[in-house]
């Protein structure tokens, strides 16, 4: 109707980690205002790190997130090792990768089954899905349990692992300690493939989004624990060159910083970006299984990200099997990393996308500057663009249905709001 203005507000988003709201104003079928309003209180981690020892960063930053602590630990360790001028040997790197596979399994299983899947059945939550599709939920919980088991054995505990450290680990497991994981991981791989096949049955809404993709790339394999940044724009840069390409800025409606990539916004990091930029590195059998499930590559439909996560679960289980089979107890659990007056950078692929850490350390080993750029803050602008596109494509829906569909557009990206709202930009003026 000409001149019609509709305002849609969702004050508290469901099935996302952290606290955020949605504000949408439509006029004559066009989205005039779109705000993913992140109101979670800033958590000041970058400020908390200043003055702490360089080797405390992995444990402190792990506390940013209970779902992806390994991502924070890994990026922090890489950055501190960069600052110290050391590189961990391949055996320890593989053990980190195994730990990271555990995190991907538990994080993706949580999102695929309990946070994302209910959307495709118009169900409110995972409880309702469990009542109607208990087999699907049980399968997801089984995958999550295996991810937790890997994290317990390698990381010391399932949440906020205590074993990783700058330079390696406090203690490395024996082959015998890893052996019981193998049959569990084998089952998780089967369960993940079954989940991927199941996603082919979902009524996935049509949406085609054309935004730039950014992902970590490792020429030796599907990137997770290390690599350089590759963008669909052709940009290639190292973690140390991050600030030359990614610029953060504050917007009034969010306690998380927005980001631009080479001056352009929005861009997207996470499963769709990895699938587009690195999917060719996945095993042929997995690419075939994804194709059978109807997952194209590249995939530009954020609603189909559930399929990419399912494929990535199968890959993470397969990669974990490979690493367990090849495991030889490293000669030493850690390489010496002495502090020096330097800067260091690290980047890894958190389940939700590229996670950048940058630090300055003084000669005493104390952190003088910290910068952490999580995937969800990078994705905020892309999420808002998705909300806009979704709203304008579904303007015929009533307010409740349109609000629900727009909430789904947010959940497609598995936003971790608690991760995103951590910056500190505090100015004190005294008279």
């Amino acid at each position: 109707m000409a001149g019609e203005t509709r305002t849609i507000r969702t004050e508290a988003l469901a099935r996302v980690e952290g606290e955020g709201a949605l504000h949408l104003k439509l006029k004559d079928g066009r989205a005039e205002e779109v705000r993913l309003a992140i109101y979670e209180a800033p958590r000041f981690f970058e400020g908390l790190l200043r003055g702490r020892r360089f080797d405390e960063a992995p444990d402190i930053t792990a506390r940013i997130c209970g779902i992806c602590p390994v991502a924070y630990q890994t990026s922090a360790m890489l950055a501190m090792e960069d600052a110290a001028g050391v590189e961990v040997p391949p055996a320890l790197r593989d053990l980190r990768r195994l730990l990271y596979c555990g995190e991907w399994l538990q994080s993706h299983a949580l999102h695929v089954v309990l946070l994302h899947a209910p959307d495709f059945f118009d169900l409110d939550d995972g409880f309702a899905l469990a009542e109607r599709h208990g087999d699907v939920v049980r399968r997801g919980l089984d995958i999550k349990r295996v991810g937790n088991a890997i994290m317990e054995v390698v990381g010391g505990r399932a949440v906020h692992p205590v074993n990783p450290r700058v330079g390696g680990f406090y203690r490395v497991p024996t082959r015998a300690e890893l052996a019981p994981l193998r049959p569990q991981v084998e089952e998780a791989r089967k369960a993940a493939l079954a989940t991927l096949a199941w996603t082919a049955t979902l009524p996935i809404p049509e949406l085609e989004r054309h935004v730039a993709f950014l992902a970590v790339h490792d020429p030796d394999g599907y990137a997770i624990d290390r690599g350089t940044l590759h963008a669909s724009t052709g940009a290639v840069f190292t973690a140390g060159e991050w600030d030359d390409h990614v610029v953060e800025r504050q917007v009034p409606h969010s306690t998380a910083l927005h980001a631009t990539l080479d001056g352009a916004s929005p861009y997207l990091t996470g499963p769709l970006a990895r699938w587009a930029l690195n999917g060719h590195q996945l095993p042929g059998w997995l690419q075939d299984a994804a194709a059978e499930a109807g997952l194209a590559r590249p995939c530009r439909n954020p609603f189909a990200s559930i399929q990419v996560r399912a494929a990535e679960m199968a890959w993470a289980a397969d990669e974990a099997l490979r690493l367990i089979d090849a495991y030889e107890t490293p000669a030493a659990p850690v390489v010496d990393a002495q502090p020096r007056d330097a800067v260091g950078y690290g980047v890894s692929e958190a389940p939700r996308g590229a996670l950048h850490h940058g630090y300055a350390v003084d000669g005493e080993g104390l952190i003088t500057r910290a910068r952490i750029v999580p995937p969800t803050s990078q994705n905020q602008a892309a999420i808002e663009a998705d909300i806009r596109a979704t709203a304008e494509a579904n303007v015929a829906l009533d307010d409740a249905a349109l609000s629900w569909r727009c909430e789904q557009a947010i959940r497609n990206h598995d936003p971790c709001i608690s991760c995103s709202a951590h910056f500190l930009n505090l100015t004190v003026e005294r008279g």
Partner: protein, 155 residues
Amino acid sequence: MGDGAVLVGLGARDRGDDAAGLIVAARLRPRLGGRVRVVEGCADALMLVAELDGAATAVVVDALRTADAAPGTLSRVDLRAGAPPRPPARVSGHGDALGTGWRLARALGAVPRRWLLVGVVGADFTLGAPLSAPVRAALEPLAAAAAAALDGSTA
């Protein structure tokens, strides 16, 4: 569903009396031998539900917050008959793993044939606090009550 038994001690070690469930689970582990799987701590509801999988009997030990009973008071709740008591505040030392896990287990049809909560009323849940005197004194009675719950007796 299998015929095994599991004892889950819930809690947070550095939150005063909230450590009671973990301490009791650790004490009972050697006493129960291999006949009962003992789990110390479940960080979230999904982990709790996973631990219940295949168990015919499950006993959860946790500290409780309530103003209706004196610190150190023991409590036993049949979780097949109803939901666990809700904490009076939104804040918990370890999240609402039991409440959420209870809902999810029911939705999945994964409720053990016997499922009991054995709790002790805590006095102090402050970060870094030691166990309060009433809860410290109640640890052995709490362990005995948990063991009895596993056996199906009411000691």
